[in-house]
Amino acid sequence: MWDRAVDGRILRFHLGGVNNQNLLLVDEETGSWWQQITGECLFGPLKGKRLRRIRSDEVTLATWRAERPESSAVKFEQRYLTEYPDSDWEQHIARLPAGPAAGPIPPRELVIGVELDGVTAAYPLAALRARSPVNALLGARPVLLLVGSDGNSVRCFIRPSTQDFYRRVEDGALIDGATGSVWNFGGRATSGPLAGQSLESVQTTKDFWFNWRNYHPASTLRLQL
């Protein structure tokens, strides 16, 4: 999710092309080309500029509705109803050819990419599903990776200290070892000494491993959770 304002000017974007299987965006105002996954302008008058990332969540409709009952939702356009992919479209995409294999997992395996203080890491989604909640370190920063009870919603939070460990209790809730407070999937303490407090969230990106690796060459792949 990007902010369309660049140096005080609001740009309108269109589909520009494909750069090694990641989209290129073109803006109407200057004709510059932008890389979708990094927000970087590659060619044109705005070359070198970067779009500002806006924190977003990739969760199921049910999760979002429960957490943000006041939210609006964008409706399908009637004239394109036959064009929108089905609910299981991701499985079809997964069979398409991918870029060169880049490591110990298949190129089209889904990973959750995170970036914090210049440290980049990818976690295989299947491994996160199996092990959630995952108490991890990103560089020196302690983080917590969660997969929701729906199996598809993923979130990452900063743990206040390396000594803070979160474990799952019944009905998907979490409990922290330091204070015994109970936390929900939104990173909010619902009871205990820290009730009402929220953990700081970290942007996560669900992507194919080859694409994440292509545009984050310094990223590590975390297989041991």
């Binding site: 004709g31 977003s56 009952p69 939210s71 409706k75």
Partner: protein
Amino acid sequence: MRKALLFLLLVNLALVFAPVIVAIPLIRHTSAILAVAHAAQRIAPVVSVASALFAATMLFRLRRPSMGIMFVLLVGCAVMSRINLLEWVFAPASDAQLAAIGEFREIRDNDMVIGVTLGGESRAYPVRYLAYHHMLNDRLGPTALLPTY
């Protein structure tokens, strides 16, 4: 003169179709290929109009049928250079039509959405919607947003 116009036509066809190689998913896009394609896309609208005007002048002066054909083809290039061919395949989204999340029934509960909250306002973009349009030029409060997928 016919050869000069034929040359102009070939140049314009190259300029119009150069950006298409950037739409082919499975080729290795090097920085040089992308730079050439971008430059072609930038200059094609101007070059094609100038070429068509030149052909029109020649047609007016020499009045040969072949000049007429060249003129029509160059006007075709001028039109093509202004069309986003990718948006024929993936139509751009129109301005967002909104529903309250409680009444939103177009996708299943387990379908994914991209959610954003800014200044107390929240919006959900169905991933199936973004997977087709690929992006939406949207606004939430004072912020101009671009959800993409």
